[in-house]
Symmetry: C2
Subunit: 325 residues, 2 copies
Amino acid sequence: MVNMKDVAREAGVGLGTVSRVLNKNGPVKEATRLKVERAIETLKYKPNEVARNFKMQQSQSVALIVPTIWHPFFSNFAYHLEKKLSENGYKMILCNSQSDVDKEINYISMLEKNKIDGLVAITYSYDLDQYISSDLPIVSIDRHFTEDVVYVTSDNESGGRIAADELMKRGCKEIAFLGSLSSIKNESMRRRQGFENEVKKHNFPHRILELEEPVHDIAGSVRQFFEEYPEVDGVFAMNDKWARIIIEELKAKGKKVPEDVQVIGYDGVTPSKEEELTFSTIKQPVPLMAEKATQALMQIIQDEPGEEKIILPVEFFAGNSTKKY
Amino acid sequence: MVNMKDVAREAGVGLGTVSRVLNKNGPVKEATRLKVERAIETLKYKPNEVARNFKMQQSQSVALIVPTIWHPFFSNFAYHLEKKLSENGYKMILCNSQSDVDKEINYISMLEKNKIDGLVAITYSYDLDQYISSDLPIVSIDRHFTEDVVYVTSDNESGGRIAADELMKRGCKEIAFLGSLSSIKNESMRRRQGFENEVKKHNFPHRILELEEPVHDIAGSVRQFFEEYPEVDGVFAMNDKWARIIIEELKAKGKKVPEDVQVIGYDGVTPSKEEELTFSTIKQPVPLMAEKATQALMQIIQDEPGEEKIILPVEFFAGNSTKKY
């Protein structure tokens, strides 16, 4: 039986291109489209049979690349993703890529060889763009690639704006963003942008501490920041990890949270299911992100049309690190 | 070429039995040993060639079953295990089993069909014993099975004793163990035993709160306990999750930690790599546990002799939830 790979080979294009032509989904050059249509005619290709056949060839496994699973946000996301993939009959291979781009490239190569069926990637590695192709079943979380790779992210820009608003309306006199900056374009830098846009709109006194990654001593940098700017009484931390470190550092210096300094994090993930959020934060909709990522990946694998940019809403959680409003 | 599975089939025994006969490792009945030796002779089996052949047939993947990856201890263990497996050329498939014994059985069945090469299991499911076989490459963390399955655990009994000693010598007047009890035999119940043995040895006033799992409202149970026993001024929590909930609950009730009540947890795992431990706890040697589990599994897969019970030392971390000594 003729399968989609035969069509791709006959037309001299990638699997993704054949998929886009069939589903009229995404951009394809006119000349390329003609090549694919000619191949389909030549081989007497029948999409439905092929889809079934294609499915039978699959390993029924999807790899998840995270910088490290030892992190509440990534472990929470992995928890929900594995659940959703499992409901779809897929096993999940876990890869901690931490500063090992070769490991990531290896998984992309497994994908090219059909040893795995799909890839969900949370990655900030430099230089990965050249290995990523929109022809492959990849869903990226938080990061844009040059190629048209589907991505899922929370609405970081809104998150930054909400955090600024919440600090301003809770009586802060000077507020700051504290975080780091990756050299790789990713959605999370919009947190700072949203924050900055909002405070500038209100002409509100503010500071921005944005350290270049990797930051080896977050606590030390936080300490130094507060020695330099002791008047800052409201902080938006780039994520909950930073927020936890900032809160510990303030306590160690005898400052009370939220009485002296109010702190808002970003992520909104507890260490485990049975625990409740304690400090104030911008909550990402992690179960929904995992669900949408799974759905998008299944659509690519099954050659169905789908969205390319999936941006999901966030909300403020009022915990014990901000004052009552 | 004859392989080990042929030998097992010819002898009418499992792969693990052939392995134990070849490596003179672990108990084998005399009659069984003779059957295996006869099969080896009949088939002119050559262990080295076979080992190579066997290796080539493998999927090069190992599954890790955890109750949930959304938990600092499990995510930390998974982080280190994936690293070690990766160094050995194995991918790691992650399975969150949470109250789904069928999912666990499915992985055991994949193992039997050689779809995966090994299994590392952290599981507390009832009724799993009948599916586990010492013939399979399985390493269990914290739990004993009826069959001779290799297990890796931290020294829970010592951990309980150390926690009791630390609370007693830090000026507590009445100390308590707070935790839950699974109906499945596992190593972590030795934490309570170690604690109890130590306080009894010293005739020290103590309380034990051991709730039957699953516990749906840990915070509520903790609240009730302190209403009933307000004199308790030192707590050993069964794990860090319990410790975090106890500390939050005490704070919410206006009690100061460690001034009014001292608290010691068990696990000693931070939410992420860059963070430091805050409260006092008994530290499990997680990287070493992952290393030993990987080593043990590789030994089983490669038919090399190895230990059956691997118990690793713990240590006390003096954090901000106990007084200075």
